[in-house]
Amino acid sequence: MFKSFARSQGLRAGVLSACILALVLVLWHLATAPVAAPQYADPEYARLMGGKGQTSSGLPSLPQMGTAIWKHLSNPFYDNGPNDKGIGIQVGYSIGRVLLGFLLAAAVAIPLGFVIGMSPLLFRALNPFIQVLKPISPLAWMPLALYTIKDSTISSIFVIFICSIWPMLINTAHGVASVRRDWLNVARTLEVGRVRTALRVVLPAAAPTILTGMRISMGIAWLVIVAAEMLVGGTGIGYFVWNEWNNLSLTNVIFAILMIGVVGMLLDLVFGLLTRLVSYQE
């Protein structure tokens, strides 16, 4: 009975979502519809407010938006030089940087978090550093990175690295430190070695917490990459947004915003699935 209720609620939520989307589209349409016959008393004023064929607000109309989306998505991988690349290529660059920085961070943060979590001494010794480094906006590292690394792509990867390391480090350490004593005692009474205990007991016990940390890190990394690419330029979805803003193409900017949202959602979805895979119910 509960199941059918849940299903009907899911259905109702879906219908409601569709309604909200329709409402937004209608409002957008109303706000951007070409004003067919502006009833201004003063023709001079009417001319000032915009002539025929233009939208009243400067935003693209729905059909314009639709054509732009279709144009971008139907040919996502073309490459006509530095300032004109398909959206697929730009997003690909961004995802590539995010994944690289993120994986490097995971390679450092998860083993280090493991060690910190196992050793209360190290936890206490490193905690002040973590607490100071964690709240620094990752973009604040950018000048330092550009100065020392002297390569804009590597610098943006470094920024991703530095912003995604903290949630993973803290969650791993926390997850490892709070593994139930009972489980560790089971391993001890079975004379299980340290490495096997770490892999067979601590890792699965802490996995949900670790993956939650990875999910948070990925979310932050995707937020940061857009800003980083706006700063360093060249390629990527962030650069695309900045470039289209300079071209005064709001249509493309809005399209890019939608893309950023959708890709971010998909990345989060992947980590949500992974978390589900390793989570357990006590």
């Binding site: 009972d182 005692n185 009474t189 079975l190 016990a205």
Partner: protein, 298 residues
């Protein structure tokens, strides 16, 4: 010849916390358990039973004194001692079978998958869980979880089994069923067992001898009550034996009246290194509380 398990002058002191005095949980704890014997320890909450069990398991260290099992001093945990934990301590991400398999693989790393599975099947079958092997702990009832814990402890074929209130969280019905299973398995395998319980009836059903512990802090083991009822006892016939009430009255009297005052006013000639072995089941005169309780009830 010395006993299978020998506990010699055990003492545990926890260091002071927040400036308080150090806490002596128990002192001068001496007892022995013979091979194949089932010993229960009874005492009020907080007197240090779990601490003793943890020392026997090697999970905790005594402040002084030592434990010798099978001719060797206990220093750290060992596969020779299987532990059933108070809160079952199953790993929730593993199925019942994988939980047991984890223990089996630790005991016999050379076993291949087929052999491991055979051992798991055998012990899960022994506790009546055939058919539930692939369920996760969250899909098992409390009693089933506890049984997986018991199967896991038995599966490594330890020389001795340590059980910390294994049935504390179970309802009376399930408890009875598992008690009987445990009794049967222990009789079959001639397992040596040390078990903590709060339940007087459970102790009389299961134990060959019952260690009585005084209240903490600074607790002692006061005496050993020998269960003189035949080993073929079971839940149905237990209450029909007149010995049952004599033993029960003795235990209850100790818990209710004597456990508080025992340490400060020990009976004349009390020697913690040479505990009195009492047989109240055979001899009502040895149960000082029996008359008093019976009188109070009348």
């Amino acid at each position: 010849m010395s006993a299978f398990l020998q506990v010699d002058n055990l003492r545990k002191v926890f260091p002071s916390q927040r400036g308080g005095a150090p806490l002596t949980v128990f002192d001068e704890v001496n007892f022995t358990i013979e091979q194949g014997e089932f010993a229960c320890i009874i005492g009020h909450s907080g007197c240090g039973k779990s601490t003793i069990l943890n020392v026997l398991a090697g999970l905790d260290e005594a402040s002084s004194g030592y434990v010798i099992m099978d001719g060797r001093e206990v220093r750290g945990p060992s596969l020779d001692r299987g532990v059933v934990f108070q809160g079952h301590a199953l790993m929730p991400w593993l199925s019942a079978e994988r939980n047991v398999a984890f223990a089996v693989q630790s005991r016999w790393p050379q076993y291949d998958a087929r052999k491991v599975k055979a051992v798991c099947d055998q012990y899960l079958g022994m506790v009546g869980l055939s058919g539930s092997e692939h369920k996760r702990p969250s899909e098992l009832s409390g009693g089933m979880k506890q049984r997986v814990g018991i199967a896991r402890a038995f599966a490594i074929e330890p020389k001795m089994l340590l059980l910390d209130e294994p049935f504390g969280a179970l309802d009376a019905l399930t408890r009875g069923v598992i008690q009987e299973e445990l009794l049967k398995i222990c009789a079959q395998t001639r397992q040596t067992v040390f078990m903590i319980t709060h339940d007087v009836d459970e102790a009389i059903l299961l134990a060959d001898k019952i260690l009585l512990m005084t209240n903490g802090p600074d607790a002692r083991i006061a005496e050993v009550v020998v269960n003189t009822m035949p080993r073929s006892r079971n839940r149905q016939t237990l209450h029909k034996d007149p010995q049952f009430y004599r033993i029960r009255n003795h235990l209850v009297d100790f818990l209710v009246n004597r456990s508080k005052t025992f340490r400060d006013e020990p009976p004349a000639g009390f020697d913690p290194r040479n505990l009195p072995y009492l047989t109240p089941g055979l001899d009502p005169a040895q149960a000082p509380g029996a008359g008093a309780l019976a009188g109070a009830a009348a």
